[in-house]
């Protein structure tokens, strides 16, 4: 247990450091975000309005850095991430709340499917090595070496452009109104199929390869031979002895990959102009929308940390050897 407490302490410290850096970074950036907003408003803002903007963005010179820092924490804890420049006057938290579900649905779902399918294929490929299952390997190795960007563009060219069966951008048809009805859900699924399939193709092979390797390693263990000698069924040996042990490293890798759902989807969402958080970050960088960038970074950092914690917990749960230690 003290092991877990130490890990939690470590993650809390990392979170604090990330949040603090997040506070200082924009203040260290040369140039003034409010100036760029003023420039964009083309002189339509009064001096009063400008001053209130500075205060709004937390860039108020009249306050000391220390009190700004504490105020920043106070805002964070109440879920206030400031106002977005590009979507002014929408708060950053609203912008994120709008785009996060898209990412979670598309990438979260495909990450889980990719892990489950890839791991199952890896188990089979590892267990039946030296048979037809070996044919799977050159294919998977090839797929895992394809750069995502390239695959995405090919997919759009082949299946989306010039009256192809799939849309090449967006999360749903402009014609439908977002809501929990069949029209909208159908349209959303239609839009997400192509990106989902491309993610699956490139990410699944990683799980296949690592699971197969672990299966091969575990197959040489004495306890597998014992399991055969005991006359247990092939199925029982494969699942309960080989796969159960081979799964350990893959499961913690999976927990970590959950943390990358939020941050690791930039490429997918850019290629498919998908209205998720990665695409939002991409646009925010282009628009120098500092509060939004900050907010998204914060979400990414926190989700990676939470995923790490989950990985630790899962390992603790699956591997009895880690339970008593430390």
């Amino acid at each position: 247990m003290s092991y877990l407490l130490r890990r939690i302490g470590f993650y809390a410290f990392t979170a604090w450091a990330a949040i603090t850096i997040n506070f200082f970074l924009p203040r260290a950036i040369p140039g003034d975000p409010v100036q760029s907003l003023i420039a964009r408003a083309q002189g339509q803002l009064s001096t009063d309005a400008i001053q209130s903007l500075y205060i709004l963005f937390g860039l108020d010179d009249e306050q000391s850095l220390v009190s700004q820092y504490f105020e920043y924490w106070g805002q964070l804890l109440s879920g206030d991430l400031g106002l977005s420049f590009t979507f002014f006057p929408s708060p950053v938290s609203d912008v994120i709340a709008d785009s996060l579900p898209w990412t979670l649905a598309l990438v979260g779902f495909t990450t889980v499917i990719s892990f489950l399918l890839g791991t199952a294929l890896g188990v089979v490929a590892g267990w039946w090595r030296g048979t037809w299952a070996d044919l799977l390997m050159p294919v998977t190795t090839f797929l895992s070496s394809i750069p995502y960007f390239w695959l995405g563009l090919i997919a759009i060219t082949l299946f989306a452009d010039q009256g192809g069966a799939f849309p090449s951008s967006g999360g749903y048809d402009p014609g439908v109104v977002p809501g929990w009805d069949l029209d909208f859900i159908g349209s959303a699924i239609h839009h997400s199929l192509l990106p989902a399939i491309t993610i699956l193709i490139t990410s699944m092979s990683g799980w296949v390869l690592s699971m197969r390797n672990m299966m091969l390693t575990v197959a040489a263990e004495d306890y597998i031979t014992v399991a055969h000698a005991k006359g247990l069924s092939q199925r029982r040996v494969m699942v309960s002895y080989a796969a159960r042990n081979a799964l350990l490293p893959n499961v913690s890798a999976f927990a970590l990959s959950l943390g990358l759902i939020v941050g690791g989807t930039l490429l997918v969402e850019i290629v498919f102009s998908y209205p998720g958080i990665g695409f939002q970050l991409f646009s925010a960088v282009g628009a120098k929308d500092y509060p939004l960038i900050q907010g998204i970074f914060l979400i990414i950092t926190l989700s990676v940390l939470v995923a790490n914690l989950v990985a630790d917990l899962v390992y603790l749960l699956l591997d009895p050897r880690t339970r008593k230690e430390g």
């Binding site: 004495d222 031979t225 000698a229 006359g231 042990n245 591997d319 050897r321």
Partner: protein, 336 residues
């Protein structure tokens, strides 16, 4: 003690790899284990003892293959079964129920992610599917008690047990289905001498109580002299001598057996001078011609380098129930 045979190995040859690259690790081995007997199999490391044990139970890891030979199991009342030709399904039912094995790597023989209870009961469930979970658990408790482990260890994971305990759990597991034969492949090498003796004493006691036969494999001949009824000596993949334990100890015939006896301190009886065997075990890829031991043999003479001796009753001792593969003792008949 030696009644009818339980396990009869006939001309078993095992290779690692195929074709020209194959290493012949076990060569034409014939060996018989009798009912109620402890048969010791000794030989330097690399002589093929484990390969023989794995091979006869069809447990060889790739690239191991049984090239030829037969293994007959005699269930007592029924017809004997030939293991090499058994279907996968029948083989699975045969394993553990008739012949259980405690492996050389017994330290790693337990699955680290399952409890002792799970691993003791899953074998019962596999072979006796109609037993209830409660009955299986009760049997597991019984088995642990048998090997001197407290029942509260049932919920333990392997890493929570000491080496000696894990070893005894494996012995308990081997006895779970009351097999007629238990194969032990260097079950105690990783343990200290005191623990080795404790476990072996336990084993002998259990054998007397339950009545199974043991094929005991070790490179430590002095252990066998103490605990076994018969001893077979293996060298370069062949059995070179097979004799009752006492005879082998007092009056070994093969110079290699003699060398082995002088490689370990005897724990009882008169002290012997420890001389060991000069030279090193043969390279299986480049076996010497004739008798594989001749380059290291202090008594080698003319025929040894040219012709391979066969395992036969030694000259003038045809009544002694022993065999040896050595030109010194089988010259008369093998020449003709």
């Amino acid at each position: 003690m030696s009644g009818e045979p339980v396990l009869d190995i006939r001309g078993l040859s095992v290779d690692y790899g195929l074709g020209d690259a194959a290493v012949h690790a076990v060569r034409d081995v014939s060996l018989t284990l009798h009912r109620g007997e402890v048969l010791g199999l000794a030989g330097e490391s690399g002589s093929g003892k484990s390969t023989l044990a794995y091979g006869m139970l069809r447990l060889l890891p790739p690239p191991g293959v049984v090239r030829s030979g037969q293994v007959f199991y005699h269930p007592g009342d029924d017809e004997p079964v030939e293991l090499m030709s058994l279907s996968a399904k029948r083989l699975r039912r045969f394993r553990w129920a008739e012949v259980a094995i405690v492996f050389q790597g017994a330290m790693n023989s337990l699955n680290p992610v399952h409890t002792v209870a799970t691993q003791l009961t899953d074998v019962i469930a596999a072979h006796e599917p109609r037993t209830t979970p409660a009955a299986r658990r009760a049997r597991a408790v019984e088995l642990l008690t048998l090997v001197g482990i407290n029942a509260d260890r049932l919920g333990s994971f392997p890493h929570q047990l000491s080496g000696g305990m894990r070893q005894r759990v494996m012995i308990a597991m081997a006895l779970a289905l009351e097999p007629r034969v238990v194969v032990m492949d260097e079950p105690t090498t990783a343990l200290d001498v005191v623990m080795q003796r404790q476990i072996l004493a336990k084993l002998v006691e259990l054998r007397e109580r339950i009545g199974f036969s043991v094929l005991f494999i070790t490179h430590d001949l002095s252990l066998l002299v103490e605990f076994s009824d018969r001893i077979a000596i293996m060298y370069g993949g062949r059995i070179v001598e097979d004799a009752p334990a006492g005879q082998l100890y007092r009056d070994s015939l093969h110079p290699y057996s003699d060398g082995l006896l002088h490689s370990f301190p005897a724990l009882r009886g008169p002290r012997r001078e420890l001389t060991g065997i000069p030279g090193s075990p043969p390279d299986l890829r480049a076996m010497p011609s004739g008798c594989a031991f001749h380059p290291r043999c202090p008594k080698a003479f003319d025929p040894c380098a040219e012709r391979t001796p066969t395992l036969l009753a030694p000259d003038g001792r045809e009544d002694q129930n022993r065999t040896v593969a050595c030109w010194l003792h089988t010259a008369d008949r093998a020449m003709t």
